[in-house]
Each structure stands twice: as structure tokens, then as C-alpha cells.
Amino acid sequence: MIKLLAWMLMFTISLCVLAQDAQVAVPQAKDDGLFKKASTLFAQGKYLSTIEELKTLEVRLLNDSTSSRSNLGLIYYWKGMTHNRLQEYTDAIANFDKALGHDYSPLDLNYEYGQALFAADKLEEARLQFKESLNKKFKRGVSLYYIAFVSKELGDKKKALTFFQAVDKLEKEEAAEVQQAAEMQIADIYLEQVESGKDAFKGVEQYVIPQYERAFKVDEESPLAPQIKEKIVNLQRKYELILFNLRNGRPTLNPPYFLRVSQEISDDSNVTFSPTETTISKSKQSSMYSKTDVIGRYTLYLKNFMSFAPELRMNNTYYFNRVPEIYRNDNRLFAPALRTAYEHTLWEKQASTLFDYEYSYAQRDVNAKEKLEFSSRSNTFMLGERFNFFASGETILRIRKRAFTSYASASNSNTTSFVLEQIKSIATNTLIIYFSYDQTRVKNEAFDTNAMTLRTDLIMARVKDWFTPSVGLSLTSTDPINNRAARGQELLINPNTRITKTFGKSFRVNLKYEYQKNKSEDTANFAFKKQLYGMELEYLF
């Protein structure tokens, strides 16, 4: 009986112990799942529900004598973080404050708290929090930037400058996100300083712009880079460090250089040979050809009324069908030019008087020896006027005089041209109309001609941001004044089309097609028709 009682006693005691263990285990299990719901809601971005859940937990913990202070601190911190993500900065501030009141200060609390204070315009307090964040080594670069920027906002430029400059002393990785912005802010402060004193011009040129340029060079492709560039340009404009507009308001070229390299591979269905421009030989054979072209120009300004633009063009054409009738067309061109413009106004609108000189030297396999030899040279002078008579676009009138020297002296010629160009904007398209009247007098008078050319090009708007189409038609009527009986009035019909696709800032690809038909009564020498199609890759520097 005693044994039985002893067993019962032991059993009861065991049960009590187990029951106590169970009592201990129950709240533990409950705590394990305490933040599960809030965690899930937060991870799902359900911030409103997260806050509701955290509020429930807050009430529960406040009424729970076993709850630790740190869990309440965590809830306030978490609420603050969540309110920040909802841009509810007042609530965020209140909760971060409470978290700190519970001696709860995890690594990023001061940073998030600082951001809330910054957004709420409580700058002094924000600066203190970012200093704490910096002390904790949390997002040091950004924290330092905030401190510097807030100091600047509070008018403490000296301190701001010190903190912005301190960014440079951080580890490369920490500074990476803020270095360019800090350099720009330093330039902003310099600017304020020099503009508040005398001789701002000198200060801008010596300190401010170089500092902006330093900032720009940190990362020339960043989202901030264009803003910095714009600041530089605005200062150059304001202090007239660079000429932006000519005296009639026409903008100067920026950049002043233009360089284009292109490579074309095309097919010519009927390669024609006309090195002297007085005769045409038809090969009646097709050939692919390669044309490499380089053109460069640099524009210099004399004060604000005159520009000079030396230019150089070079190209080389090579035919792949290596039969004499074809490869004698292989050619090379070297053509320097000097273009000048005198800027003035006409009818109170922008106008320019143009004077150009062009020289061209051409080599060609004129003797079909697979060797390029001198083919021709020319000197061209042009006097023109560009003005705005029509509201829809500029008009250019030119008189052109060309002296042409051929390898065959009988073909030497002089050409006088009268040219009219008109640009017209039609909605989002551009129409270019070109008309010229050319009088060509050849040493061998049998080849004298008077010709009229009318050409229209319609450059259409970009299609769905993908490609730009253009179509053109050129008609040239040639009167062989001393050989009318044999040739009659000739007409060259030349429709063409082109599709251009631009890649990035500099590359573009052109797909080209054109058809040429020259009607002449001298079918043996002058009548021909051909099709040309090809692809051209261009790179613009």
C-alpha cells in the first residue's frame, strides 16, 4: 500500500513537473509564431495589413506581462519602416521615436528615421539621425551625403563642403553611389560663393566649371551626367564663355565638328562609265560594288557673325565584277572644301550669305588597266543666300561656277548653275525641293548642254520609333544644244527610296533602292536604264 502510495505520489509529482513544462512550452510555441503573419504580409508588400497586424501585436504585448521590451521595440521599428514605405512619415517618425524609447536601435533605424525626418522637413533632427547612421557605418556614403546636403539646406555651406569633400575619403565601394553627386554639390557651393563676390566670371571659369567637369567625368553615362553637362552649358552661356548663338540667333554647332564614316555594299544592274560627264558607256552587266566614304568638317566662328568650315571628303569605290567594262569604274575621290557663312537678317529673320570653295580630285581606272589614274579635277565656287521667306522652312539660292578638267582634254568644261533649295515642314514630315539650271560648256562643243533638274525628297517621321523612311524623285532634262539632232531632248528619271534605322547615338543603317532611266534618241551612247540597291552602314562621331 505504501509502495502504491509512493508510486502515486511520484506519478503525481511527475505529472506536475510535466504540466509545468507544458505551461512553459505553450507561450514559447506562441512566441515562435508571433511575427510570422507580419513577416509574410511585409514580404508580400501588404504594408497596410502589416501595420494592422503589428498594431494588434503591440496591444497584445503591451497587455502581456511576459513580453520583453525588445519585442515592443522591434514592433515600433518595424512599423516605422512600414510607414516609411507608405510615405506616412509622421507615423514613421512617431514609431521610430518609440523604438528608440525602448532602447531598440538596430543598424538601419537611424537611417530610416533620418529619411522620415528629412521628408518631413525636420532637417536638424534628420542630420542627427544620419550622423548616428554614419557612426554605425550604415550606408556611409549616402548617410554622409545626407548630412552634407542637410547642412547645405540649413545654410551651413562650410560644413556642407567639408562633408561633401569627405565622400572622397571613403572606401571606393561606399563612395560609388554618391561621389558624382557630391562633386556636383561641391561645384554648386563654389558657384554660390563666386557669384556672391566680385569677378564671378573668373571664378566660374577657374573653379566652378572645372569642378563640374570633374563631377561629369566620374560617370559620363549616369542619369546625373546630363544635368551636370547642362549646368556647364548654362554657365558657359551665362558668362559667354562659349559662343552659343550667332548675332541673328542662329545656334552655333555643338559639337563644332562633324565626322561620318560609311561603308556601302550595293548592286548596280547596269554599270555605266561616264568619267567625263559628256559621254556614257553602258556595260550592260551588273556588279556589286563597295564604297567607303569619309567626310569631316570643323566649324570655326569669327565673333558672332561669320563661320568658316574646312571640310574634307574622301571615298573609294571598288567593283567586284572584274571585267574591264566594269572595273574601269573603280575610282577614288579626294575633295577638300572651305565653306563660309556671313550671318545677318533679312525681313527681320535669320539669313546667311554663303560662300563656298570646293576642290575635287578624282582617280579612276580610265584605261581599264586595274590601276587608278588621274581622271578629273574641278574647282567650284559658290555664292548663295539662305533666308526665311516662307514660314514653313528655309530657302537657299545659289550661283555656282565650276571648272572641270578631264584626263581627256576635249572634255574639259565650265558649268554655271543657278540653284534653288526649299525646305518645307509638313506636319511631322520634311519635304526638300531642289531645282537647278546648269549650263555646261565643253571644250568639244558637241557636248555642250543646258540642263534642268527638279528633285523632291520626302523624309517621313520615324515609324513606331523603329525606322525612318524617305522617298525621292529626281527629273533631269538635258538639252544637248549642239547635238539635238542625234540626241534629242534627254530626260533622266530617277525615283529612289531609303529606309534608315538608327542604332544607339552613332550607328545607322540605310537600305537604299533607286531606279534610273535616261531617255535619249542616241540610244547607243546616252540612253540607259538601271537599278541600284544596297545597304550602307554609317557611323557618326
Binding site: 515562435d32 553627386a181 557630391a182 546625373l224 547642362e230 565653306r339
Partner: protein, 456 residues
């Protein structure tokens, strides 16, 4: 004879009405809701049945919850009109939403269609069709554009030229080649667009409020409607939202320390992206525009009534936890999930963005329409909250939108408005060129039709 004809017609219409089967019952109703069936309009009340072919119309501030025979639910918002074109539990049903908004919870388990990749229901609007494959979603249309937001499940969404009679097979083909929307994402089919926008994550605040407001309650208490869309940005000038954003890594650690079980408890637990992937995530969150394929920035707001997308403005911070931007100065979300534009800006139900502009010359305020913003995130540009201020400062403000589109002179605007490159290029290049070929070549490279205000 005349009496006979009248009786005959009454009989025929009765038979016709009898032939239509009950498909849905009214479970909840607020305000004035009518059903039009065989030309006859009846005011609906709780417990009423609606039949196949009915047109249901809700008045302003009205709402109706319909529970269909397959147990799926459809809640119609205020000022909406919907036609039950075809309802069957053997094949996919077809609903036409003429205007307004509908929230639907279609549970695939209740439908007797085995193939999970086939749509259980189609909702057509004037310019789009949704294929529903078991889901909780909202769709709205103003009769021109269509916007859809997905809360749960999956929908496929595509453009249609007209909502005319299309077989379910044809509709299935159309949606199959459309965009697939995942939970939390939205897509808009703009009337001018060639295809719906690539699905993007909706602003988390708007998503949650819309999700909670399944009964289209426009008079919900303000609750947490304290966020000001016009509050100062936390991004100081010079920095990007990505640079100042903070992951929830510390929070995760703190939570894990407080309750160790939580850390590994669920795959949905707070888990910030790694540093390496965060830059890529930020880039993907910005959206893109590639021809007809346009993906709005993650975290954009949607003006549900019109389908206008409001991207996060400059100075928005990326929240790595959700990979969405926290919009700055782009407006706010009311307690019912509606987008509320910033002060001085209004978005009409037909999708116009109107800005109140002070005319400094006359001392009056006038309303000016501005083009829709680019939906891709940009750190530069003007936030919607600042558009009014910018236009006030613009010397072209008094000349109306056409003048803005032509490219204003104001420096601030020059930065943000993209005028046609044509005139500049042609002027600049012609300055130095002699021949027409050069002009054509120069113009060619930069010719653009896009004359836009880049409101961000």
C-alpha cells in the same frame, strides 16, 4: 387579328424569357441597379435572379454582387454596365463589360472545365479581352481603354478590335497570344496602343486598397489615407532612388533573432535581394519602351476609371522588398484604392490629364491639357505634382498645349519637353553644308514625330 398578334407576341416573348436560364443571383446590392432583359428594365433587389443575356446597369454610387451558378462571384462597381453574353458551366462563359468596373472572383474548382490552360471565362470590353483561368481580378473600362489588375490566380489579356460576337475558340486564340498577368500586376490596353502594356507591378498601396475594397465602397473611412503623394521626396537632389533605398535585411535579422522559427518558416518571409541582383532588379523595375512593347515602371499608379498610368516621379525610392518604386510627388491613393492626382491636376474618365495653370498675364487660372506621361521611370523630368508650377513659369503657358508641344523656350521645360529634333538638326547642319544630300542625311538621323511632355 390585331388582338391575336398581340397575344402571340406576348406568348413568344414569354417563351423566350422562359427559355433563358437563371445564371446568377443578387447577393448584395447598394443603390440603384437595373437589369434589362428582352427590352424590359427591372430594378434589382437582393435575392433576384438574372438570366443569360441580361444587361445589368449600376447607377452612380451603386454596387451589386452577383453569385453565379458555378459559385463564382462578380461585383459591379458604380456607373457600370455589363452584359452576360453567354453563361454555361460546360464551356467558357462570355461577359461583356460595356463601361465601368468589375471585380470578379472566379474559382476554377467550381467550373467543370478540366484543362487548366484554357480560360474559364472571358470578359470583353470595347478594345480588350481577358481570359480568366481561376482568379481574383478587377477590370475597368471607360469604353475606350481597358485596365486590369490581378490580385490572385492568373489572367491573360489582349487587344480586340471590337467586342462583336466571337466564338470562345477565337477568344481563346486571342488571349493566348496576349500578355499573362501575375498577381500584383496590372496591364492597360490603351485605345491608341497596338498591344496591352507588358504587365508591371502595381503600386503596393493601391493594390492592397483595391484588393480590400471588393465591394467598390467609395465611402470607406480614410483609414490609413494619410500618405501624401506630394510629400517631399526622401531622395536628396543628385542621388537616385536606388542609391538611397534600404533593403529589409536588418529587419529580417531582427525578426529572426526575436523569433528564430520565423526566419526559415516560409519562403515568403522577408528576404531582400542580394547586392548583386539589386541593381538588375532596379533596372527591371524601371520599365521599358521598345516599339509596341511598353512596360510601365513597377509601382506605377493606375487611374482605374480611364486606364491612365502614372509612373513614379523623379525622386521615387525603389523598395527592394517588393521591387517597386515608392512614388514621389505623383499623387496618392484614397482609402478605396482610387488614384488621386496631385493638387492642380485632374484626370478625366476619358483619360485627359488637365492641369490648372495660373495665367500671369491676366491673373486668372485656366485649365490646360497635357499629354500622357511616359510610363517608364526616369530620374529626370517633372513630377506630376510640379507640372502646374512648371507651366506657370513657362512663357508658352498662355498659348495652350500646342505651344508646349512645339517646344517651349523655358529652360526648365527645355530639359523635360522633347521637341522635334528636326528643326535644330536641319538648321545646324545646313549651316555648314552645301548640298541637298547632306541636308537629307542629317535630317534623317534625328527626325522624330515624338513631341512629348515628359511628365514623370
Amino acid at each position: 387579328m390585331r388582338s391575336f398578334l398581340i397575344v402571340l407576341s406576348i406568348l413568344l416573348s414569354s417563351f423566350s424569357a422562359m427559355a433563358q436560364k437563371n445564371v446568377a443571383v443578387v447577393k448584395l446590392l447598394r443603390g440603384e441597379v437595373d437589369v434589362v432583359n428582352v427590352g424590359k428594365t427591372t430594378r434589382l433587389k437582393d435575392g433576384d435572379w438574372v438570366v443569360d443575356g441580361s444587361v445589368i446597369k449600376t447607377a452612380e454610387k451603386s454596387f451589386v454582387k452577383l453569385v453565379f451558378t458555378d459559385k463564382s462571384q462578380m461585383n459591379m462597381g458604380p456607373s457600370s454596365e455589363m452584359r452576360i453574353e453567354k453563361f454555361t458551366d460546360k464551356d467558357a462563359s462570355v461577359i461583356e463589360l460595356v463601361k465601368g468596373k468589375v471585380r470578379s472572383q472566379v474559382t476554377k474548382d467550381y467550373l467543370q472545365i478540366q484543362n487548366k490552360d484554357r480560360s474559364k471565362m472571358f470578359i470583353k470590353t470595347q478594345n480588350a479581352v481577358l481570359g480568366i483561368r481561376g482568379t481574383d481580378f478587377m477590370v475597368s473600362t471607360n469604353g475606350i481603354n481597358t485596365a486590369t489588375v490581378l490580385f490572385e490566380g492568373e489572367v491573360v489579356f489582349n487587344k480586340i478590335d471590337s467586342p462583336g460576337s466571337l466564338s470562345t475558340e477565337k477568344l481563346e486564340q486571342i488571349v493566348d497570344s496576349g500578355v499573362r498577368i501575375m498577381p500584383g500586376e496590372f496591364s492597360v490596353m490603351d485605345a491608341a496602343g497596338a498591344s496591352p502594356t507588358v504587365p508591371s507591378l502595381l503600386n503596393v498601396n493601391q493594390l492592397e486598397k483595391l484588393e480590400k475594397n471588393e465591394n467598390f465602397d467609395t465611402e470607406r473611412s480614410p483609414g490609413s489615407d494619410s500618405a501624401s503623394g506630394e510629400a517631399k521626396s526622401v531622395v536628396p537632389p543628385g542621388l537616385t532612388g536606388a542609391a538611397v533605398s534600404n533593403t529589409a535585411e536588418t529587419l529580417k535579422t531582427e525578426v529572426a533573432q526575436a523569433t528564430p522559427v520565423v526566419a526559415g518558416a516560409s519562403s515568403t518571409a522577408v528576404s531582400p535581394p542580394s547586392a548583386a541582383s539589386s541593381a538588375a532588379a532596379a533596372k527591371s523595375a524601371e520599365g521599358f519602351s521598345n516599339g509596341d512593347s511598353v512596360k510601365p515602371a513597377n509601382g506605377s499608379f493606375v487611374h482605374i476609371e480611364s486606364g491612365v498610368i502614372i509612373p513614379p516621379g523623379p525622386g521615387s525610392v525603389l523598395d527592394p522588398n517588393t521591387n517597386t518604386f515608392i512614388p514621389s510627388q505623383s499623387g496618392k491613393i484614397s482609402a478605396d484604392g482610387s488614384y488621386v492626382p496631385p493638387k492642380n491636376v485632374e484626370i478625366t474618365n476619358d483619360g485627359k490629364i488637365l492641369v490648372a495653370v495660373a495665367d500671369t498675364a491676366t491673373g486668372t487660372v485656366k485649365v490646360q491639357e497635357v499629354p500622357k506621361p511616359s510610363v517608364v521611370f526616369s530620374n529626370t523630368g517633372v513630377s506630376l505634382a510640379k507640372v502646374s508650377e512648371v507651366l506657370v513659369n513657362s512663357p508658352t503657358a498662355a498659348s495652350g498645349p500646342a505651344a508646349i508641344a512645339a517646344g517651349p523656350k523655358n529652360d526648365i521645360l527645355n530639359k523635360n519637353f522633347v521637341p522635334s529634333g528636326l528643326s535644330d538638326v536641319s538648321n545646324n547642319q545646313r549651316n555648314q553644308t552645301g548640298g541637298i544630300q547632306d541636308v537629307a542625311q542629317q535630317v534623317n538621323i534625328k527626325t522624330t514625330t515624338d513631341v512629348t511632355i515628359q511628365v514623370q
